[in-house]
Amino acid sequence: MIIQTRDIGKTFGSVLALREVSMSVEAGQVTCVLGDNGAGKSTLIKILAGVHQHDTGSFLVDGAEVRFGSPREALDRGIATVYQDLAMIPLMSVWRNFFLGSEPRKGLAFDVATARRVAREELRAMGIDIRDVDQPVGTLSGGERQSVAIARAVHFGARVLILDEPTSALGVKQAGVVLRYIARARDRGLGVVFITHNPHHAYPVGDRFLLLNRGTSLGEYRKGDITREELTGLMAGGAELEQLSHELSHEPDRE
């Protein structure tokens, strides 16, 4: 167990963003966090990543309680995050982005030759096909960008990789590509936290599923304990979905 939270909670002023949420992340496993918009998914992982601090409950890394003051501290403990909204710098080249914040040095200088070469090699090792590491990240597709960010985290020795909705803006094919990289990172022994609102993306790669609804946990399930249909049902709030499908279905005998 690398990461564990116990009844963790967070408020923003009067907004109760998160209440008594417990979850865990193990090496070589994927923990999926599912929930609707505003459920508190991003808030939860921002606590894990050192962006926010929790107000209640406890947060354990390797069994010891921690409280990160900055993203850097989380990174130093091997917890790397790829954010939904802020992933990379569009006008900077792939290799500059790849090493941003952890640039290899040669004397006083930034060892750009090494950076270029290693970026190219690491991307290739993850099976990521980038035309040219000198191109600005802004010219990559959303899926390519997520993939580069994942490869970066793996390269820098992350033990835990947190991905905030990496597939939400992607088409079916691109989402598939990203899911494949998630599986690769897992196979390399990383613990992955995968946030999504799509149970069809979560189910195939996930080992555990944490369901959030309006800041509270609907429970953490192991894959063996839940079917895809149950997961989908829970996600949509079961009864609500039935109600919705009833509302949206045709009523043939009107008019």
Binding site: I89, P90, R96, G101, E103, R131, D134
Partner: protein, 344 residues
């Protein structure tokens, strides 16, 4: 798995695009055009003496434009930089002529004050998250007031003079404001300082970790911070660098003229920004080059002196300024579109 053999898509990226996304491209084209224009009409302009003549304003402007370019790439502005050249010059001359300091100690005090002002700008901007445009506009006005107020209170006039008599003047002048003879033409030593500043700035931007951080905090500060870039420290360092550049230019000018007007430098802050923009800096940050800004300064120097060589009214300089700025921003926007174009 998804590896495509010897990528057929590389061709489509193309050399043209590679060149176009160099920030200096527009400035280089402008440089050639402006040089050709004046050189064709004025033999003096293209003579060694003429070149020495227009490289001089290019040098002092260039030192500032390069520093401002770094700051703009880092996503911030400094409107107080122009007036700060005046403040540091006034400190130098006042201390050396009225308080018995030798020139070197007076320059050191000026440097410390400049660093403190840069630090203050940086701290206020990073702590309050207010736009640097507003924060440094405040600094600009306050310095302008201090420059005039203190000078008037001390001398009863709006200038301080007499630096020539101060101890250490001759050596300091040789180093900062002297001339160097090249093939019978004397060039200002400021040109060397400008080349040095441009070279160091380019190295920092392209070949140091700090350079990577500067591009990153200007491109997307939050993303940069999330991967562990010390964003606030980077920005504060940039404000302090700009202040040091202002100190260098203020000292060069004070040593050259031995007197300083209390209102010097006012209005220059926009010229620095314009030179940086002509050199390819985006107003939105995250993109640009030090060499580009240096070239932008040369274009200015050429136009400034070239108009005089042609015997035109100096007012045409302003027209030229405006036209160059418009052309440059249009070119930059195209570049940005190319570079940032998101493929779906």
């Amino acid at each position: 798995m998804t590896t495509v053999p010897a990528d057929e898509r590389i061709g489509s990226v193309g050399l043209a695009r590679r060149l176009l996304i160099r920030p200096e491209l527009g400035a280089v084209v402008g440089l050639i055009a402006v040089f050709a224009f004046f050189a064709a009409q004025s033999p003096v302009f293209r003579s060694p003496a003429g070149i020495a003549n227009w490289l001089d304003p290019a040098a002092t402007l260039g030192i500032m434009a390069v520093a401002i370019a770094l700051l703009m790439i880092g996503g911030e502005f400094d409107l107080s930089a122009g007036v700060l050249t005046g403040t540091t010059g006034l400190i130098l001359v006042t201390l050396a002529t009225r308080y018995g300091f030798d020139v070197w100690t007076a320059m050191l005090v000026g440097l410390v004050v400049a660093l403190l002002i840069g630090l203050a700008n940086g701290l206020v901007v990073t702590r309050t998250r207010l736009p640097s445009f507003i924060v440094t506009l405040g600094t600009f006005l306050m310095l302008q007031g201090i420059n005039l107020g203190v000078t008037k209170a001390l001398t009863g006039t709006v200038q301080v003079s007499g630096l020539r008599r101060a101890a250490g003047y001759e050596t300091a002048r040789t180093i900062f404001a002297g001339t160097i003879d090249v093939g019978g033409t004397s060039f200002r030593v400021a040109i060397l300082w400008w080349v040095l500043v441009t070279a160091v700035a380019t190295w920092v931007l392209m070949r140091s970790r700090a350079g990577n951080w500067i591009f990153a905090v200007g491109g997307n500060e939050q993303a940069a911070r999330a991967v562990g870039v010390p964003a606030a420290r980077t920005k504060i360092a940039l404000f302090m660098t700009t202040a040091v550049a202002a100190w260098l230019v203020g000292s060069i000018l004070a040593l050259r003229y031995t007197s300083v007007q209390a209102n010097i430098g006012i209005g220059q802050e926009f010229i620095y920004i314009i030179a940086a923009v002509i050199g390819g800096c985006l107003l939105t940050g995250g993109y640009g080059s030090a060499i580009g800004a240096a070239i932008g300064a040369v274009i200015f120097g050429m136009a400034d002196k070239g108009i005089v060589f042609l015997g035109w009214d100096a007012d045409w300089f302003k027209f030229f300024l405006g036209a160059m700025l418009l052309l440059a921003t249009l070119a930059n926007r195209l570049v940005r579109r190319y570079a940032e174009e998101v493929k779906h």
